[in-house]
Amino acid sequence: MKILVGVKRVVDYAVKIRIMPDRSGVFTEGVQHSMNPFDEIALEEAVKLKEKKLATEVVAFSLGGPKSAEVLRTALAKGADKAIHVQVSDAEAGKLESFHVAKTLQKIVEQEKFDAVFLGKQAIDDDSSQTAPILAGLLDWPQALYASKVEDGGSGHMKVTREIDGGLDTVKVKVPFVLSADLRLNEPRYATLPNIMKAKKKPLKNIPITELGIDISPQTQTIEVTEPPVRQAGGFVEDVSALVAKLKEKGFVKA
């Protein structure tokens, strides 16, 4: 099984997001970036499957500006065998939509014959959560979304446990398939220094988006980006009876 793993370069989760004064977007320049945490989990699972001999090759993919090469190098240090960087300009990267990413992935899958595509359940910058299901639709492959456990399902199938609102849902999907990784699937490994060194020698292929003939003109328009409303400060109460009295006063419990 050849697995393609999508990894996105996003603003690090610990960075305090600042909105641009003209409200057209958020500041990304001079801000720390890292690999989307859910993509890290997807990558870790693919590498684990390779270690268990369930997969033969893991290829990391990123669609983005020049600096996306950094997250691909990290992916290589964490166990991917090869990397593919589909290149756009930074300006274009800011306007990419899930649909464009899915279209690009589809093209790569068709060109290089993959058996599975692993993605994070969402990117922490736009929170769209759309790439995996759109891609499954485009490829007409089964999908296993929000995976928390991946096992061999026997006879060309994989058994995937998914986290859903009511509990856990176990599905059997026929390979080839699309998977999206949830938080509890695994705990990603670190990129150790010896592996970072080795990663420098692994192949990283650059493909300009124009070569793939994919139209990335935006289908949506950002009208305005604003800060979420500020949460009001809470207060402290002395003890339980004071708390109950307060709740009654506010009408949250019946008097």
């Binding site: 890292s34 690999m35 945490p37 890290e40 010896p194 060194m197």
Partner: protein
């Protein structure tokens, strides 16, 4: 980097100072005194009940017996109180955030607690020169947040930042984890407003509001680390530093202590101006973290005698990463390190720092812990651990070491399942004498306070101690400020 102090309760240490008896030269507080205080501060400025958080230090190790806490709102009110107390020989203990570790900020007997909590109004910042002027009662984290909006930060960071106050930081010459980069507070202090415990409660402005002023004795610096012995700091002028835009962390596994020193040397030369932390953990503390807190090491190799946490802070991520990568390459190619991990995200960095920051908590889970805060020349830094390991033998459960290697500051911790007098007899005063004999200091950061008063002569010439006493007398003729401690 967030440095949250774990809320831990340290057990009472039995070798602690023999409690000095109450001095008869101090007056007992009378009703008339309370009325006088209320007259200066208003009724809300004098508190007599429910004051245990002002008379107990946060470790729970020291408990005092004060009966009144005063909350002045400005310098003038402090002046009125000190003049009154001087004339009436009432002992006073100035108190900031009460986060000290040596019992320096709480009353020993019945001293009046002078809380700085309400002196937190004046704040101004020159964002061109980076000069901050503020009241002494501001909490460190509050100041840091204010400066953050202007692209600056406080030049030091410590676990207690959410509670400690800038006035107290000055009075204790706080150290912390950025010292290797920005230097001690001596490098930043420009001026102070202090109130002296003399007949007038003199308000003195020391130093100035400009970066360079070489016109007098550097008097504000006398108050750095003065532990509330000379006067009460009410306002601080100091420099702040530009807030770094890029912070990189890496954890390295090293085979020998000698190689740790070589890595430090290399880090200083290759990372130079962006190097902001160089922290040290030995295998014993890593084992302790795993057993007691289920925190697993970042490095995978089966046996790594020493781990080093390196951090850079700079203004340009590409530049910093290039330096860090080149430094790590060199460490590997020169075989100074056996393994290493470079944080790829803040999540990775948090895990690394969690190991270092949880170390003080991990040792307490052993039952009973003897903590030390000594500094040594690097050649003897880890020798102390080995010497103590051999000396304590089976009596100690663990002998672990972590600390600020870049500053020569070691936090050697010796644990046992419960308090053990035989172990104590083996350790003290041997350990402190050993440190002094090898050119170290018995307190690198925490100070003397009550805790180390019995050892305060170690490593100091008697002439120096005498001079200190004379100075104290000049500033505080009746000796009313923070008695039974330090000097």
């Amino acid at each position: 980097m967030l440095k949250l102090l774990p809320k831990i309760r340290r057990p009472i240490r039995c070798y602690a100072a023999v409690l000095a008896p109450r001095s008869d030269s101090f007056a007992k507080i009378m009703q008339t005194d309370l009325m006088a205080f209320e007259n200066f501060l208003g009724k809300e400025g004098v508190k007599k009940d429910d004051i245990s958080n002002h008379t107990t230090d946060w470790t729970g190790q020291f408990k005092g017996h004060g009966s009144v806490v005063l909350y002045p709102k400005n310098t003038e009110e402090v002046s009125a109180i000190l003049a009154y107390c001087m004339k009436n020989k009432i002992a006073v203990v100035p108190q900031g955030g009460n986060t000290g570790l040596v019992g320096g900020s709480i009353p020993v007997h019945d001293e009046v607690v002078l809380s700085m909590n309400k002196i937190n109004k004046l704040f101004s910042f020159d964002d061109t020169m980076g000069i901050l002027q503020c009241d002494a009662g501001f909490i460190l984290e509050e100041l840091d947040n204010k400066l953050s909006k202007l692209g600056y930060m406080m030049p030091f960071d410590l676990g207690a930042k959410g509670s400690c106050q800038i006035g107290g930081n000055i009075a204790t010459c706080a150290g912390g984890i950025r010292l290797i980069r920005y230097g001690s507070l001596h490098a930043h202090l420009l001026g102070l407003t202090v109130v002296l415990p003399d007949e007038q409660g003199s308000v003195v402005h020391l130093g100035s509001k400009i970066r360079k002023d070489n016109t007098s004795l550097h008097t504000p610096h006398l108050f750095l680390g003065s532990e509330g012995q000379l006067g009460v700091i009410t306002n601080v002028t100091m420099t702040a530093v530009p807030r770094p835009k890029s912070v990189q962390s890496a954890m390295l596994g090293v085979e020998s202590f000698k190689k740790c020193c070589e890595v430090l040397k290399l880090a200083k030369s290759r990372l130079s101006e962006v190097l902001s932390s160089f922290e040290f953990l030995d295998e014993a503390i890593m084992e302790c973290l795993k057993t007691n807190l289920n925190l697993h090491p970042v490095l995978n190799a089966s046996s790594i005698p020493f781990s080093i946490l390196v951090e850079t802070s700079g203004s340009n991520e590409d530049h910093d990463m290039e330096k860090m990568s080149a430094f790590l390459d060199e460490c590997l190619s020169k075989k100074l390190i056996v393994d290493g991990v470079l944080a790829g995200s803040s999540a990775d960095a948090t895990k690394m720092w969690q190991l270092r920051e949880s170390a003080p908590l991990a040792v307490t889970r052993d039952g009973y812990v003897y903590k030390h805060d000594v500094s040594l020349p690097l050649e003897h830094y880890y020798e102390l651990t080995n010497v103590m390991k051999e000396r304590c033998g089976d009596l100690a459960k663990r002998v672990v070491t972590y600390g600020h290697l870049g500053d020569g500051n070691t936090h050697l911790n010796i644990t046992s399942s419960k308090q053990n007098e035989d172990l104590e007899k083996l350790m003290y005063p041997f350990l402190y004498e050993w440190v002094v004999a090898h050119g170290g200091s018995i307190s690198a950061e925490h100070g003397i306070g009550q805790l180390k008063l019995p050892y305060s002569n170690l490593g100091k010439e008697s002439e120096e101690r005498l001079l200190t006493k004379k100075l104290k007398k000049i500033f505080d003729p009746n000796g009313i400020l923070n008695p039974y401690k330090m000097i």
